[in-house]
């Protein structure tokens, strides 16, 4: 295994749990929820979805405001995906301690991606066009161009290496890490700006997740009264995912680059795998999910029993969680490591979910804790050690992160504490 493994240098995120990363981590450890009322658009009386995980990013509250977020810079970039992504990349680069000089720039790649992109810009423009014939603003198309976020990050950072968008629906964030690893492992880049952003709280998208029975449907008065209790992955009363916004970024580098620059990374990506179900547009598929996990473990040069914990995909749907449970048993037999499902707290940030959850995994490995899966009531059909209270778990050398997306795309990552 002399092939260069990517190391993880610095990261940042914004989510339903907050704008400052340390605060989000503190709240996650405390078992809190980021879910609240959906206020991104006026709700119709019969709107099926009334709660969400919103990012409350007020540029006036960020002091000092990074230059990339100044009103002049953001004037034409109406979709929130640009504000969220520029902020987390700016901060992740600062934390990584890397200066992208003209000499380094060609060796810096961008794999930061999105599943839905700036679709809100299209919806707003279409509504104005239909209602009163108003033509779109010139920047409507650039706002919704799905790889524009990566392009803007390239402009922000000066990175001039490969710049790709790795859309795999709800696995997008993990796939951006895997594709960044591929670029490093094949010598195409020394540094990669990975990550993902999504702003799915757009009326037709929200309603569509409801009509396809994906998102949370309240059943009781209790459900309606307590948004924080709605996201219930692996629980017997799980009723779909709570739709959230979010963005997160992690800076990858080759181990040689880190060493040459005097950096001391705490983590590496030990292995990864991608697989495709070739089965169903939206339903998960046990054999190819299990294979993806097994391949990622094998690529790490370890056996399944070296995995200390699992950060689950945990779609929070009936079928999604059941299939993940079965696939975990296929890989680990009777000894499935303890499982955390961060969507119980953060909701489902679509393409950004798996990158946020990857960062939470790293923080847990660093602090020696497993995050709680809140709102959990045991399902007799699911035979997992679901972590329900923040649990001390000091020796986490290797942790598996799962992510699965529409289109039957699976991405599994193995993080290793150095």
């Amino acid at each position: 295994m002399t092939k260069s493994r990517p190391v993880l240098l610095g990261w940042d995120g914004v989510s339903s749990m907050g704008i400052e990363w340390n605060e989000q981590w503190r709240r996650a450890r405390a078992g809190e929820s980021g879910i609240g009322p959906l206020t991104r658009f006026p709700l119709r009386p019969d709107s099926p979805v009334r709660i969400a995980g919103q990012v409350n990013l007020d540029p006036d509250a960020i002091n000092p405001l990074p230059a990339c977020l100044r009103p002049r810079e953001m004037a034409h970039w109406k979709s929130p995906v640009f504000r969220y992504s520029m902020l987390v990349v700016h901060r992740a680069l600062a934390k990584a301690g890397i200066a992208i000089t003209p000499e380094l720039a060609p060796r810096v790649a961008v794999t930061f991606s999105t599943a839905i992109g700036g679709l809100d810009a299209v919806v707003d423009a279409d509504r104005a066009l239909v209602a009163n014939g108003s033509l779109p603003l010139p920047y409507m198309n650039p706002n919704s161009c799905v790889n524009m976020i990566a392009g803007k990050i390239s402009i922000l950072s000066g990175a001039t290496g490969p710049c790709i968008t790795t859309v795999t629906a709800c696995a997008t964030g993990s796939t951006s890490i895997a594709m960044g690893a591929l670029l490093i492992e094949t010598g195409r880049a020394d540094v990669v700006i990975a990550g993902a952003v999504d702003f799915p709280l757009v009326e037709p998208i929200v309603a569509g997740f409801s009509t396809m029975n994906g998102s949370f449907k309240p059943k009781t008065d209790e459900d309606a009264l307590h948004p924080g209790k709605a996201s219930r992955p692996f629980s017997i009363d799980r009723r779909g995912f709570v739709i959230s916004e979010g963005a997160a970024s992690v800076i990858l580098a080759s181990a040689e680059f880190a060493k040459a620059h005097g950096l001391h990374p705490e983590f590496e990506l030990a292995g990864w795998s991608l697989s495709s179900d070739a089965h169903h547009p939206v339903a998960p598929h046990r054999p190819t999910i299990a294979r993806c996990m097994s391949e990622a473990i094998a690529a790490s040069g370890i056996r399944p029993d070296a995995i200390a914990a699992v950060n689950a995909h945990a779609s929070s749907t009936k079928v999604g969680d059941k299939v993940e449970d079965e696939a975990l048993h296929d890989v680990f037999g009777a000894k499935v490591p303890p499982v955390s499902a961060n969507k119980s707290q953060f909701g489902h940030a679509m393409g950004a979910a798996s990158i946020l959850e990857s960062l939470l995994t790293l923080e847990g490995m660093r602090d020696g804790v497993l995050l709680p899966t809140i709102n959990f009531t045991r399902d007799p059909d699911i035979n997992l050690d679901v972590v329900t209270e923040t649990r001390q778990h000091p020796s986490q050398d290797y942790v598996l992160k799962n992510a699965f997306g529409f289109g039957g795309t699976n991405t599994c990552l193995i993080f290793h504490r150095l």
């Binding site: 100044r70 009103p71 002049r72 810079e73 953001m74 004037a75 034409h76 603003l137 010139p138 920047y139």
Partner: protein, 91 residues
Amino acid sequence: MTEQTDPLLPELARKLVETLGLDMEPESVDPAAPLIGAGLGIDSIDTLELVVMIDKDYGVKIDNRAAGVEAFASLGALAAFIQQHRPASPA
């Protein structure tokens, strides 16, 4: 002299600053200074956004190069252009 007192000027200055997110107060936009390519840092894409805003808000189309050169010569010129070309009875 009429440009200096054009009632449209403060409104246009405010819209210019808001639409383009300029880091300045509307009152400090010099009505005689060139709008594009000079101190304000307004580029061709910004100009496209202004063209759409002017069409939407005032019903005035700037749809050829000559009109663009005339209208965007300065903020004062833009106000005069709008006054000259806006529909007789506003919607």
